[in-house]
Symmetry: D2
Subunit: 337 residues, 4 copies
């Protein structure tokens, strides 16, 4: 922690601050520059995380040196985390494709799409049973029944399933029926839900919030790891900016940045990010080129009648073509599909 | 709903779309312009909210005409909603000041601050018992014990209390002990929590999400009203922008915009918005000048030792001065304090 | 300047860095903490502004201590700058109202509006002769002829005039005909134009760029002051955010922040910020409550036929009412109108 | 143009609006829905671009149907524009790599870097002679002398050169010495400069503004094309968002979106976008995968001593490796390098 004093700060302001640091068990090193006095704090400055040092008299600014997270960092674990989901390995050389409908709607439709994406090479089935919808008048998902349809699709295809949890009270259903629990963008800072999924070892797909920084995403992951669950994958799904031509702005720079800072696998969701089916293919390719470990892609056999996000869903035939193209890009960056 | 067709759209594309609209019970009016064909939908276009019309062949854009909310709108209710919280009326001519510490820490401290803000003219006591913190290593609040301290402070001062709920499983404690339940910015789109508080008539203070639009805030309020709870107040608390000099960018334009679109009271939180105590006073004055019905202000008797957000807390003596100044501004815009 | 080394940085990385700092005439103080080594730079760290220190081996982060500006700061000049524009003093106790049409269109219309706003209490006439328009097919302004109309309006009313310059090649016309030269938001970082107006002592109204930070606004002002022109006023006119309900997000927190950091007068433009005439009045009041030294307000006697920004222009009769209300708010915060 | 009336709009409000549209030579079609009356405007609604229709009594919202640009659109020209710069073709199957130092500093250094990037496969030399710098105290470029160094580098390598213009008064030097004139992000809406470069047929590289929308970028290009110059390439270089971990957020979704809407070549600048040399390579690959027609990459043989943007410059040896990797990605998406 580096504390810069105001030019008009008095000696007793500096002394008062140093005294407080000592009380907290930290050593302070005071340097008097020409225009400013600077106080460096030696010791674990995570102790200062909750201290409002900037309100101390004479303090101009406070700059932390250490990142506020630990378990998610490359410093803590150098090698990549590889998560094993019923035999599907996420985070290794092979890129994982998770595909399926936005929302689970009907049993036959779900199983049908599952078979098609599986045949095309996807290894995880995605599908929302509980849907977070901006309007109370929109389709809210089938709930438990939706989870059951996913279980049936898994039975028929062998694909593990990922589905989003909205409420900690549903944790039992997800532990029983889902293979990966998704925490959606709107719940990235629903800390009670993070704590809940942190108490089990069921793999978690944690999506970046609509306006969350990369650092906040890492801190939310730290919530889960600090409770004991190390099976966390991070997901970039577009952030909110002033640009309204597409639903969100896919922040692919976050992919290499996250890979550098953290050992956790990084997944990209080009479907929700763009909100337009014709932009999904180029951004899926770009995500792999940028270093993503996996993709989440919405596939629907009849987008015109999809109950949710039909605009961004691609048809199974297009998905098959896309897989062929993604394979080429993966190989160009020394990965496999 | 106005649907604009692409220049190359064929007649059968238009027919296909019109047919689908008829199936949904809506009438379509087709207008062929020089460069584009436009399809107007007559009837309640809220029926179309979940229909992915933009994926129909030949469709270029889809523009809704009606707002997707109803109960929160001025069209539904012309007069201002006034919420009675144990005798304190929120939303009328008198501006309501809610003040207190960011987090409830100790009983005596809480009661002491309550007495001071009450003496200075505040009419609601604020205090967080459950705290949403970005880092798992930060102070997470006292939980139920914190609520009990607020109850004691209410007993000694007569002030109703507002406190934030984080988890639907705690609803019982809040119904019993709080007078206003706060839904924080991070939970504005925690739809399960919105539904939960919507099932009672306990007043709710709903904060705008970090990157929520004004329209999304209204839709989240609609979730609560549509379950039966009409006692909702909206709160502008700063949005996330590229500017990093202060914690958030207080969007005061939202105040008159919300007042025009909705009948619900609008509260402003200058403390969380700015994150700096010296900016709280000017923004509190500006909020009242812009038409706010109330303010949420953090007050702490010893900000240097506050366990949460000490940077933005003002001392009771400053709060007293601020109240005198706010009174003058309130009168200048024909309100009372 | 505080330079934090990576945990894996070697001693020779630190030595290499310290050597480079010495070459630049600066002293370095090295502190070895438990997890990181920190290098403090003593001396004027503005010397380092152009040095890419973060590319040196082993460097993790570089944090400047001193602000990169000087002349615009409160440290350089404690008292408020008051600019005298033909007898109208901007930056003192009296709040300056600048009003007039968005674009200068016709002579009679311009003179008519000037008389009305003058009668209502405005002291500066605003009007665009050269218009920066997003589309090449929009009305681009009358150019020199427009400036002549402003000169005529000044002659008949005695009001000094402010108008926007777009091109350094027009400087001669502005020096001759305008009393304040406006640099618009789109030109806040047109550094050649800043240098040009910096070479004279004609007052300059510098608008904040659409996505400029407060610090960048100060640096652009520093460009002008560093060339010799000290007569600069800063203008907050709304920033670009994700919110699209109004044209821009008026960032009123910038007003007290700028007043704290700089001695220059701060003007607010609620008309361009909101883009809607019915939001102008509440935000004008809020701006004064937040501490603005002046306002820029668009007034047009026939908004339905305005060639530019009719949506945000208010009629002279409304402007008169607004002035009466602003006077009350000004007095409530110990200012005059 | 679709105009939606307020629910309370009277018949005479509709008549008044229709009358005004007729005066402008447009036909109006009025549709009375259950909750709103809608007025459709038939004819070229570009005529309405400057009409403030939303201020007419009873009008709730105004939605344009036609895009406000024409010459840049795919509707105007179906085939891709290919620009020939001294034999280097930009916009065809082959991806164009433009590389070189951020700023031109010394003759030998410039020629040396030019030879290295040419040998590695770059086909255009980039280098800034006039530099737009946030601070007046930063290195501002060598000006004309810098252009001369670029001319010398071109002479020795045969590579065409691209350099940024800041001031319309320098147009003569650029016409004489540069092969492509760059309009930087800060000048994307410097409309006088756009008009100036529009009057010649010298190729222009137009960078997207820091917070410009894709639509605004197209309108700025339209400025240039509408003056006669059809040799325009668009450049995505990162936009400003709330994320501060990297300098800007590279918006790669803009690449396929621009390619769909416009026939102009699209270039990506991963160096300025990320501001960090180690993020340049992954984002360069991602840009090609997303469909970019070319890249702008900063290369410097001694980043520690670069006078500008050393943080984001890569060394010639890394550039050589990068080119080999880019070639593989280009082939994976059926392009050549």
């Amino acid at each position: 922690m580096i504390i810069v004093m105001k030019p008009e700060a008095a000696d007793h302001d500096v002394d008062h601050l140093v005294e407080r640091l000592r009380e907290l068990g930290l050593k302070a090193q005071v340097t008097k520059g020409e225009e400013r006095t600077v106080v460096g704090v030696i010791g674990d400055d995570r102790l200062l995380h909750d201290q409002p040092l900037s309100v101390f008299p004479g303090v101009e600014s406070v700059t932390p040196i250490l990142a506020p997270w630990k378990l998610v960092s490359r410093e803590f674990q150098k090698h990549d985390t590889v998560i094993d989901v019923n035999g599907v390995k996420i985070g290794g050389k092979k890129i994982t494709i998770m595909a399926g409908p936005c929302a689970v709607e009907k049993l036959e439709l779900t199983v049908g799409i599952a078979k098609e994406v599986s045949a095309a090479g996807a290894s995880i089935l995605r599908g929302g049973a509980y849907k977070p919808r901006t309007s109370p008048y929109s389709f809210q998902g089938l709930g438990q029944e939706g989870l059951d349809y996913l279980v049936e699709a898994r039975k028929q295809t062998g694909m593990p399933v990922v589905s989003e949890i909205l409420d900690a009270r549903d944790i039992g259903h997800f532990l029983e029926k889902a293979d990966i629990i998704q925490i959606g963008a709107r719940n990235m800072q629903n800390f009670e839900l993070l704590k809940e999924v942190g108490d089990y070892d069921k793999p978690v797909l944690l999506k970046r919030g609509l306006s969350a920084t990369v650092k906040e995403l890492l801190l939310s992951a730290e919530y889960i790891l600090s409770r004991g669950n190390r099976n966390v994958m991070l997901c970039e799904r577009g952030i909110r900016t002033y640009e309204t031509l597409y639903r969100n702005t896919l922040d692919l720079t976050a992919v290499p940045a996250l890979k550098e800072m953290s050992h956790l696998p990084v997944i990209v969701d080009p479907s929700h990010a763009t909100g337009k089916w014709n932009l999904v293919a180029p951004m899926a390719k770009a995500a792999i080129a940028a270093g993503a470990d996996g993709l989440l892609i919405e596939v629907h056999s009849d987008p015109e009648f999809a109950l949710c996000d039909g605009e961004e869903s691609i048809k199974p035939s297009r998905f098959k073509d896309l897989m062929a193209n993604l394979k080429k890009v993966a190989e160009a960056v020394d990965r496999e599909l």
